[in-house]
Symmetry: C3
Subunit: 139 residues, 3 copies
């Protein structure tokens, strides 16, 4: 049984979904794990992780619009305003999605379905470099 860890750094251009499936697969391919478990952990409270359809880009646009609607930028709603009007909605959108995802490794491949992509969901307007910790265990 072996383990590996890696820090994946992503610089999204701004708010919304950035696909990281390719970068994650590239790292997994180097680990030579046939059966195991990959865990992705987002080290931020205003960005998060989500698995979504990787085919029609309209899905991503609709998903972003949905989260803007249910957790809107509206300073009058929030006490926490010191970091800008997009900060508290960012925390809410992070709470509604995932800080962490674990995906089995089967026959040397991530067990993602055909239409599943892994996305970093940036919730702030100003670009931030983000760090996702990858942990793999298996053999």
């Amino acid at each position: 049984m072996q383990q590996a860890v890696h820090s994946l750094r992503i610089a999204p251009r701004g708010r919304g979904l950035t696909e990281i499936t390719g970068a994650v697969r590239d790292w997994i391919d180097k680990q030579e794990i046939d059966t195991g478990l990959l865990t992705l952990f987002c080290r931020h409270t205003s960005a998060s992780l989500v698995i979504q359809e990787n085919a029609d880009p309209d899905v991503r646009a609709d998903l972003e619009a949905f989260f803007e609607k249910i957790a809107p930028e509206d300073p009058q709603r929030y006490k926490h305003r010191t970091e800008g009007p997009d900060d508290m909605p960012a925390h809410l959108r992070a709470a509604l999605t995932q800080s962490q995802l674990s995906i089995p490794i089967v026959d040397g491949e991530l067990a993602l379905g055909t239409w599943q992509g892994i996305y970093l969901f940036e919730h702030r307007r100003i670009p931030h470099e983000r760090e996702i910790v990858l942990h793999a265990i298996g053999e």
Copy 2:
């Protein structure tokens, strides 16, 4: 330390929650793992996983109604409409719940609480066969 993987196939009758606790427990019982970790991974973007109360069926009905309300079928809201009016709401409901769950195994049993059941949450109206990948590690 050992590992096991399994593909659990579920054919829900339509939209809503289908309990899979029994099928998952049956598989875990065969692995003879005393201490470990089980991960369930849903290979779809229009179905998801949720842990909910397994006692009163009204809880499931209320949960389904809640998700129909916050992520409604309303084609005018969405750009992604080619796969039917229930497809984009399905992706949103999947994003708000889980693609993956990990549950410790303690004394040979899943560490679920007394009232916790594991459910596949089907979000499409037309029945689809769904695949949940199970991964267990432990000894």
Copy 3:
């Protein structure tokens, strides 16, 4: 490779977020795991787990207010009312957040970001003792 499990018991004073980062770190420190994976599992359907900002307490107040708004106490909306008006909203808020979190252990420390705290999110008004199962694997 080693494993450890522990039952962490928490008695929140009532509804809202209770930080458990310190108690979790104390237990991890005793395991002497340099590289590994920690999983926290909440054994309840009316309490859940969330990673949130640990700096400004206003973030927690805003988060609590947000969940009270999107999944309100309003008995007319719900069929499941036998356990009180706060029970069904508790299940909905649990479904929207996490029953489980997995966090890599890197260089003997949890890979939490600087501003990340781990919180038990109690959704019932009357205080309940809650149990979080901790599972660690690594070496």
